[in-house]
Symmetry: C3
Subunit: 679 residues, 3 copies
Amino acid sequence: MINDKLPKIWYGGDYNPEQWEAPEWAEDERMFKLAGIDVATINVFSWALIQPSEDTYDFSTLDELIDRLYKNGTYVCLATATGAHPAWMAHRYPEVTRVDVQGRKRKFGGRHNSNPNSPVFRKFAAKLAGKLAERYKDHPGLVAWHVSNEFSGYDYSEQSAAAFRVWLQERYGTLDTLNKAWNTRFWGHTFYDWEEIVVPNELSEEWNGNRTNFQGISLDYRRFMSNSLLECYKLEYNAIKEHSTNIPVTTNLMGFYPELDYFEWAKHLDVISWDNYPSLDTPVSLTAMTHDLMRGLKNGQPFMLMEQTPSQQNWQPYNSLKRPGVMRLWSYQAVARGADTVLFFQLRRSIGACEKYHGAVIEHVGHEHTRVFRECAELGKELEQLGSQLLDARGQAEIGIIYDWENRWALDLSSGPSVALDYVNEVHKYYDALYQQNIEADMISVEENLSKYKIVIAPVLYMIKPGFAAKVEAFVQAGGTFITTYFSGIVNENDLVTVGGYPGELRKVLGIWSEEIDALLPGMSNELVMNKEWGALSTSYTCDLLCDLIHPEGAEVLAQYGTDFYKGMPALTVNSFGEGKAYYVATSPEARFLQGFLANLCAEQGIQPLVSAPAGIESVQRVKDGMSYLFLLNHTEGELSADIGTAVRTDILGGEELKGTVVVPSRGVLILKGALLNG
Amino acid sequence: MINDKLPKIWYGGDYNPEQWEAPEWAEDERMFKLAGIDVATINVFSWALIQPSEDTYDFSTLDELIDRLYKNGTYVCLATATGAHPAWMAHRYPEVTRVDVQGRKRKFGGRHNSNPNSPVFRKFAAKLAGKLAERYKDHPGLVAWHVSNEFSGYDYSEQSAAAFRVWLQERYGTLDTLNKAWNTRFWGHTFYDWEEIVVPNELSEEWNGNRTNFQGISLDYRRFMSNSLLECYKLEYNAIKEHSTNIPVTTNLMGFYPELDYFEWAKHLDVISWDNYPSLDTPVSLTAMTHDLMRGLKNGQPFMLMEQTPSQQNWQPYNSLKRPGVMRLWSYQAVARGADTVLFFQLRRSIGACEKYHGAVIEHVGHEHTRVFRECAELGKELEQLGSQLLDARGQAEIGIIYDWENRWALDLSSGPSVALDYVNEVHKYYDALYQQNIEADMISVEENLSKYKIVIAPVLYMIKPGFAAKVEAFVQAGGTFITTYFSGIVNENDLVTVGGYPGELRKVLGIWSEEIDALLPGMSNELVMNKEWGALSTSYTCDLLCDLIHPEGAEVLAQYGTDFYKGMPALTVNSFGEGKAYYVATSPEARFLQGFLANLCAEQGIQPLVSAPAGIESVQRVKDGMSYLFLLNHTEGELSADIGTAVRTDILGGEELKGTVVVPSRGVLILKGALLNG
Amino acid sequence: MINDKLPKIWYGGDYNPEQWEAPEWAEDERMFKLAGIDVATINVFSWALIQPSEDTYDFSTLDELIDRLYKNGTYVCLATATGAHPAWMAHRYPEVTRVDVQGRKRKFGGRHNSNPNSPVFRKFAAKLAGKLAERYKDHPGLVAWHVSNEFSGYDYSEQSAAAFRVWLQERYGTLDTLNKAWNTRFWGHTFYDWEEIVVPNELSEEWNGNRTNFQGISLDYRRFMSNSLLECYKLEYNAIKEHSTNIPVTTNLMGFYPELDYFEWAKHLDVISWDNYPSLDTPVSLTAMTHDLMRGLKNGQPFMLMEQTPSQQNWQPYNSLKRPGVMRLWSYQAVARGADTVLFFQLRRSIGACEKYHGAVIEHVGHEHTRVFRECAELGKELEQLGSQLLDARGQAEIGIIYDWENRWALDLSSGPSVALDYVNEVHKYYDALYQQNIEADMISVEENLSKYKIVIAPVLYMIKPGFAAKVEAFVQAGGTFITTYFSGIVNENDLVTVGGYPGELRKVLGIWSEEIDALLPGMSNELVMNKEWGALSTSYTCDLLCDLIHPEGAEVLAQYGTDFYKGMPALTVNSFGEGKAYYVATSPEARFLQGFLANLCAEQGIQPLVSAPAGIESVQRVKDGMSYLFLLNHTEGELSADIGTAVRTDILGGEELKGTVVVPSRGVLILKGALLNG
């Protein structure tokens, strides 16, 4: 449980009453009651308010706010307010603003705007976090700490350059080691003095975001920057913990946000929290995968849904309304996949600046007689009813899908073979193939203990870190099923190619050699032709993007290419290795293939779909104390049915006992408590 | 009359003889005579010529030129030459060049390149204007002053930052007021010292042109910059007026140019002038609307067509030739809509630099035996014949369409609900619906006296300035018909939302409440279904972009949405208010709807089409001394007929008496004098 | 012969063994032997290696490498290593890095990164080249010098600005002459002091790459920058020649690379070399044209193919593999068109940084059992067999096509009439029309002696330099056939329009006057209608882009426009002038027209196709000692036949005697020795 002061699914969200006047505060309180709101995230952007000058702190407004909320039954998730520095600080200490990727020194403006390697910024941020912790640590309304906000963005200042050189000295020890790791003999980049190293940006090695001359340098800068921001987080974390030891500390993450290695970050968060902002046209399985990734950051520990909009965003190109029922549906999707809170951005809409058209529980009209408020209040009531029974329940997947931020960085930075390669998209293809069949998967890191799973899928695992190949071999040896794809096993953690034949360190377990990699032009495709019918798979499937030209070295060929000069060469292989099997998918096939392929593997491993249901139904279970909570979510506008099997289950929202075919209403949700499924 | 020295439609244009040698000057004179050219705009870019150094002025060439032209029968529109500073000034006083929106300090180059808040630039510019006025104020050839050229572009220098702070102090008085106006509590942007305020650009709050974190700051910076350039204009205006009190002063505007609030500027111009550069594929009704806007800047006062090309532009991607007859046709379109001059850029083509492929009366070949010259000379003859009879004639529209630059800025800067919202385009939809039915409209500011009109249309009037809502109420109360649309009435002049329910201050007169605003994805549409047949409207029409979800509060529902979850909710309402009616169009409908809708309202108000004519005919009248000059312009390649009614009218170009059905030749023009239409 | 130490087609390529360890060097040697590799280009990016600090040079590794290679039978093309400066130099002397077109000072990074006007860079570069020449001039393995690498990129530093002013003073003598050449009276840009002149970039006159306010300034800056880099080349050239007089010196060019005037450069290269990187979808005739241009740089002298990839690139968006046989086919295409070397980038793949996915003879797998290596080794064997017989053989075209870099710059920089005008593409249309008919052409400069040719084609020759028009007149007078197109003859070498009627100085020889130029919108087209059937041409053809509206002044009209207001005006004319004819193609016609048109002209001039062959066959001959080597290249995947005529020819690869119809295998090559064709 995140904090047993409030043993239920927390309900509420970001609340910025400093933006309006006291008369509205009373209205806020009244409406929070109506909506069943019991948690408010406050103080997120109040640095300028609570520290109006270098030497002055003024907590009076905050004191009053926390007391007022607590009296009204609202707990607080207290932010440290360091997500944007005050104007006075930027004016007096220009070093706190960033230098951007183009090398331009920024002035005051925006948020997430602080140079993470500015000693001045670090000093002020840690001091503020400490003061807050000292002051509020014992307040009965305090349930969580929220450090800064959506850490993001890189800096290229001289302070960061200096810190980068120190970081490199710690990482590599000697320049000789660094020169080798970065292969600086290429283009005569050998460094003879640490001071010669400059940050990689548009003034040196990079252009157009992810283009770089030196993958090694750019990769290390991403590591360093992810760590610089993490250092800022940790400074505040430690300052808080010095006073407030038993209140959980988090910072709100952003799903697949590319710039930070959240698996590294997760080690320093007491509880994961994240902000979920799908568009009208975001595939629901992509949202599901993102929840699963967030749950996976701390090995399955339930997380906080820190932000979502009750109705619409403002920063998308086209900010469509969430259709009726969708806010509730997506809230339960989060809960189904591990969230123990349902929090909104925001409780009341701003009236000025760039987020005023972002949806809120209390809209600009100011009263409760709105569609949005009614939906919020109904959900509030339901969450009240649910009480604590779902808290701490966990998933029980038998399949792990590997996702790795450093691998993503290396792929994004790669010059060749194809700009169309999108790591998240390729991972999602495998995830979606399971999702569509009502089969659960965990999103896991390369550091995960693989033996927890029957099947491990590692799409486009381009970078193999030390020890990982051995771990895969042990996993397969012991009977596991391992799947990887084209353009995997190519480089080590420094983006240096493992010579001797692709897929490098994975070659042995896969029993193949990949000789060449063909990149297909847009509009081009090839075919993946099954050598023989295999379970759900027969005849042929289209594929595109990249085609590895591989040779079996012990592996069995299951399918081959259908056209072009490599027609007849293997496109899908399986290698028996010890007690297990290792599959190589040499190209990027259509969804129909992946569904059949994974269906076959699940069947072999005895992994059953949770339910039998048509497309549009999402199913997932949370497990607690031996009982399963089966979620059925209907993402369509019409009523759909699912077959939950012969055992009786209790619909904990509706109260009925159900079995066999159950009906899920349009955009509706069933939470069915009963015996463990597929466990 | 702009200047009674030349009581006819002035004919001529920009003339830069300093770019070539004396022998060609004699040729110029000969050809001006052949073409009937009687006005030359000179000295536009001659600063470096007439002030070759800080302390030296040399007017000898200009003296000679003005005398020479006058002797040849050509009057001059004399420019102050400050549209581009000399190289020596940029070299000696770097402060005169601008800092761009990216924060980059510019060097010498281009035009419209001066920092408007540079004291050095201001000093030199005003001094030059004064010297010119002093020297030429009594020259018999002088008919108008032309300050600088196409004022445009913003600056982000330290001088502008300092001036911005002063401007803000004047506007807001206290930082507290400013902090409230900008809602700086959002993201903790509270300013505690004026010096903490920096200009909003890509180094602080803005990106991608119109994207900003703080609408209030960016909106004020647009106001400030429009005003900074206006201050530069006024400095020159005043310097001229000190010597030359009776010659009209203007500067050439650019239609819907976004960066300057021309309604503010117009107050300081003696006569409006503007540069008209449609492309081959610009809708003719958009050009018409732009002329009407320019006429509307000074409440209907005739204006100067200061520039148009006789043949082609050079700066468009594809610079097509004006087809035969089109130059004449578009010249008369300008006259029909209020122009009392027909001036070209340019009289003779440059041979070097970036405008050498811009068309001219005298082409590079140098003689008169060209299609372009022949067409120019024929028009010159006609304008000679027309004499003074059209001068000062005015329009007589019964419909006003509101256009507001600050509203445009606020819409452009808005984060949400849809990037597809284009204010000018939405205004044009209403204008065009009238244009296609031969019904005239004035383009008016929010400061206009509405009681002049039977119908006032205010598309997407997002920003309601103080007093405007009351004015609308009075207008409708007294019997007027008011129309506005979705996303109107939302904010005040500081872009702060009017809480309590959209459309804010307009809610009462419209009798509705708009609860939510849905943004449609590209390709999505909804339907607007009539509740019953109403005049020209029946069944249903498509709509897209944005859909307000509204509730009637006294208004009658005329149409409803046809699909999506808000099917059945009102899409078009009318509220009876006093003696008048207020309509709310809750979405952006197709043209077919808008034509029927406005036809109905005109019928109700007894507003008749000027003529009955097929598509392709443009009709408009100018009125003088109780007589009407009806212009019929055929924009197609074939002959077309129109019915002008039973009263006899005189074709003042052809000399015939006409009534009933008249024929307008391909790309031809009729100007028919007769009794007032629709008055 | 490039160097008679190695009297055969050189085979090998770029080799960077400093990037790996000694054990692999032995493998390299073994595999070079297997592949028949006899030339390695070394030391290209080794500056940091051989000069580890300002005062230290260390040639030990290089000594060893050259000796080792020589012992293994591999000669060296020795680079001067100045294509990228060392990090220590950028750190100690920041002036060596560039300022970019946006005015941003760069830091250390990338390659081709040196400020060409930095005295420090120039000093170090020349010194290094001299030291290398002194040390290795007598090494028996040395066969060529390779200065720097792919010279490219412009600089906008203060050093370059100062050098630009000096260059301008030398070019123009007085400011008055400069002001006239740049037409600075336009926009009042008159310079009164040399110091007022700044470099044209995004901070002054330019934007978006080729957009500029002053074509004259930007054109001169391109000349100046091309020359600045050439000066750097020449410094090294001279430093080498001081010691090493008899070894040819080159630098690797890049085909139609826009930024450098290679015709100027070619005067200072002993032998042309270039890097050929077509994509999977590059038209083979465009590659052919580029080879011909490179051959034309030194009037037909054979050149070095310095780089091509054995398999795939890494820097294209989609890096497809060269299909089997294509590497060999394209290698022979180079030889057929004048290459006396076949060299690769690269002999062994890097394992790190941005080129690690660029193909190599030795792939990452490290052994010889790859498709790529096998194909390389087979070609190595063939080239061994061919020996010296093709060396120094030359082309024998009777048609010259003019290409001019300054003309390209002027067209690229032009503001109007159409952004769709692409000079290289328009030239290629004419080249391709001949290529498709198996008719050879030379790519020639405007300085070429035209009397070598029966037909000279000058597509879009917008800029006419002094003396060129007279040369064309003399050529036609004497019986030559000259062809030019729309938008030709417009400006002089300063981009100043030749007044008095387009096409200016070419008007007399063409016998026409072009009155106007219409730019067609995308999707628009016109028709070119033959006045009567003429040889291969009849009826009508589409045309687009630009349409000149011309009047014959003595010329005969062969075709007219079919639509729009200029229907019936001439679209194709021919003027008899002395003994010859001058054609004007007033628009950009479809390929079908150009093939017929050029077929007619060739027929008139007795120019025969080399062979009769279907589409997909490329034919070209090299001539030596009165014998012809006819190359037939089949670019398709199927077998094709060609008719080589009745004379017997020897297939020098296969050894057979052939005549009449010969079969060229899929992606195959025949080299048929025999009597001169078409000579």
